[in-house]
């Protein structure tokens, strides 16, 4: 197992700005995620929360700011910093996308889906890694030669998690990993993520619009609105309703259901 050979990594995001055609999707957002920590980003659609994740792993263009991997004491790792989007970076930072119906190639078997990242990174022991990855996400070998359309939503999301974990990254970026799933399946996937994090000492950055899900999985969280960061607070404070910004409060009220 590589879980102990690679020390846990954190991520330091400073003054991140993403601009699309003059529209500022993310404006000067900074936060630091310590190694082994689970960090959440919440906000409504268009708040820029997913764009932050995409900018971290190089899928969105960064107009300004830095993204750095940090070590145990919160300082930047001394070795050369891999650029976001580069192979060395994606070896350490992997992403799980929102919609398991759209993020798996419909004409590739699970085996091929899982073999691809290994081939790209030139990792030899594909056979054992695929077997282990399937076991780890609780699916087993029976799923290896199935196509995505033969799987349920929850099973697909498990495959997406297995694909992200097969490179043994230290940081996992989760973009609404359970919002396309039924409540009972959501509970299973959340339990799986929590279990994997403990076993592998992973660092999570999770984006969600569901405050209850974020406070369940994360220790600290950032509230975003229209590309700006509104409030940075501990999950325990949110759970105890110790929030200072009216926007956070309105999100909390909305989460508690309809009131006449």
């Amino acid at each position: 197992m590589n879980s102990n050979s690679n020390p846990a990594l954190g991520l330091d995001v400073r003054q991140l700005r993403v601009v699309y055609d003059g529209f500022t999707a993310v404006a000067d957002t900074s936060f630091c995620v310590l190694p082994g920590e689970s960090f959440g980003i919440v906000g409504e659609s268009g708040s820029g929360k997913s764009t932050v994740l995409r900018a971290i792993c190089g899928l969105a263009p960064k107009a300004a700011g830095t993204v750095q991997l940090v070590g145990g004491d919160g300082s930047a790792v001394s070795a050369a910093q891999p650029a976001p989007g580069s192979q060395a970076f994606s070896r350490r930072v992997q992403m799980v996308f929102q919609d398991p119906y759209a993020s798996l190639h419909p004409r590739q078997t699970v085996d091929r889906l899982l073999a691809e990242p290994l081939a790209i990174h030139g990792i030899a022991d594909a056979e054992t890694r695929i077997e282990r990855a399937l076991d780890e996400v609780g699916l087993g070998q029976g799923f290896r030669f199935r196509y995505p359309h033969q799987l349920s939503g929850g099973q697909r999301q498990r495959i997406a998690i297995a694909r992200a974990l097969i490179l043994e990254p230290q940081i996992l970026l989760l973009d609404e990993p359970t919002s396309a799933l039924d409540a009972s399946v959501q509970a299973e996937v959340l339990n799986l993520l929590e279990d994997l994090r403990q076993r592998r000492h992973l660092t999570f950055i999770m984006v969600s619009h569901d405050l209850a899900v974020v406070t369940h999985l994360c220790e600290r969280l950032l509230v975003m609105q229209r590309g700006q960061s509104v409030e940075l607070l501990a999950a325990a404070d949110l759970a105890a309703r110790r929030v200072s910004q009216p926007y956070t409060l309105s999100l909390m009220q909305a989460a508690s259901g309809f009131r006449r």
């Binding site: 409504e44 409540a183 509970a187 959340l190 339990n191 209850a212 259901g257 309809f258």
Partner: protein, 280 residues
């Protein structure tokens, strides 16, 4: 409340032919009556909740077989009435709001033109009056600048705006029954509540019957007068508003338990152990 119920459903079944020549029943004997109230139908994917709504409206897929002991809408037998009458009812006296405004609005017509079309299909009005009523309908769903939105195409508006336009379209012929199939799942939490409060006001002001189909137990229980919980094509439990805490069926209780809650730390979350007996 009226003396006779608005809608009577007795032993509704919807079956689909399966590949091996047999058939699969998606809805297996659902019965309920609806007055002028808010009824919620809750269940997970595959529970048959959407198929129930579609069968009432007559929108089941052509290859499906719909049967029931009784399916009556304000005294009209929906099972035997001619297709022409069914068509006149649909959109006129009973209407449906679908899940995703991106897929259920016509992409090549402006929102205004779609609303006008719906009105003129059911009511004899001049085009001038239809336009005026469409603008009023857009205003009634709390769209700030109806004249501007009237001229926009579906791709030019946000999800919340599109869903409001769809509600305006469904309500313009002033139906007695509105079936809303996951009307808010594609929307943000803050917009969700706005859309629900629009529906709520319409039920109270106009005395409309509303069936809200959703997977979100918490949302439905805070909104509806009565809730039917569906599992594997059957109603497993009926609950009164706010009676969620007193739910008896293990499925309903399991569904409640597996939701993470703000302020309560439950690690790991309870998962749902599905019993084969629930599906019998």
């Amino acid at each position: 409340m009226t003396i006779s119920p608005l809608l009577i459903v007795e032993d509704l079944r919807v079956a689909f032919a399966s590949r091996d020549g047999g058939s699969v029943e998606a809805v297996r004997g659902v019965s309920f009556t609806l007055g002028r109230e808010r009824l919620g139908i809750v269940g997970e994917s595959g529970s048959g909740k959407s198929q129930t709504g579609r069968a009432i409206l007559g929108l089941s897929a052509p290859e499906s077989r719909v049967s029931a002991k009784r399916l009556e809408f304000s005294g009209i037998d929906l099972l035997t009435c001619p297709p022409q009458q069914r068509r006149a009812l649909r959109g006129g006296r009973m209407a449906m709001v679908l899940q995703d405004p991106k897929f259920s609005l016509n992409p090549v017509m402006t929102l205004g033109a779609q609303i006008v079309e719906t009105l003129r299909a059911h009511r004899r009005v001049s085009s001038k009056e239809a336009t005026a009523r469409a603008l009023a309908a857009l205003e009634s769903v709390r769209i700030d600048d109806p004249a501007r939105v009237f001229k926009l195409y579906p791709h030019e508006v946000s999800g919340g705006m599109g869903q409001r336009a769809m509600i305006a379209m469904m309500l313009i012929a002033e139906p007695d029954l509105l079936i809303a199939d996951e009307p808010t799942s594609a929307l943000d939490v803050t917009v969700q509540l706005q859309v629900l409060s629009i529906l709520d006001a319409l039920v109270q002001e106009r005395g409309m019957g509303l069936i809200l189909v959703s997977h979100d137990l918490r949302l439905v229980s805070s909104f509806c007068d009565r809730i039917l919980v569906m599992y594997a094509g059957r109603v497993v439990e009926e609950l009164a508003a706010g009676g969620l805490a007193h739910a008896q069926h293990p499925y309903t209780r399991g569904l409640m338990a597996c939701l993470p809650q703000l302020g309560a730390s439950t690690h790991p979350l309870a998962t749902l152990e599905r019993q084969p007996a629930w599906a019998l």
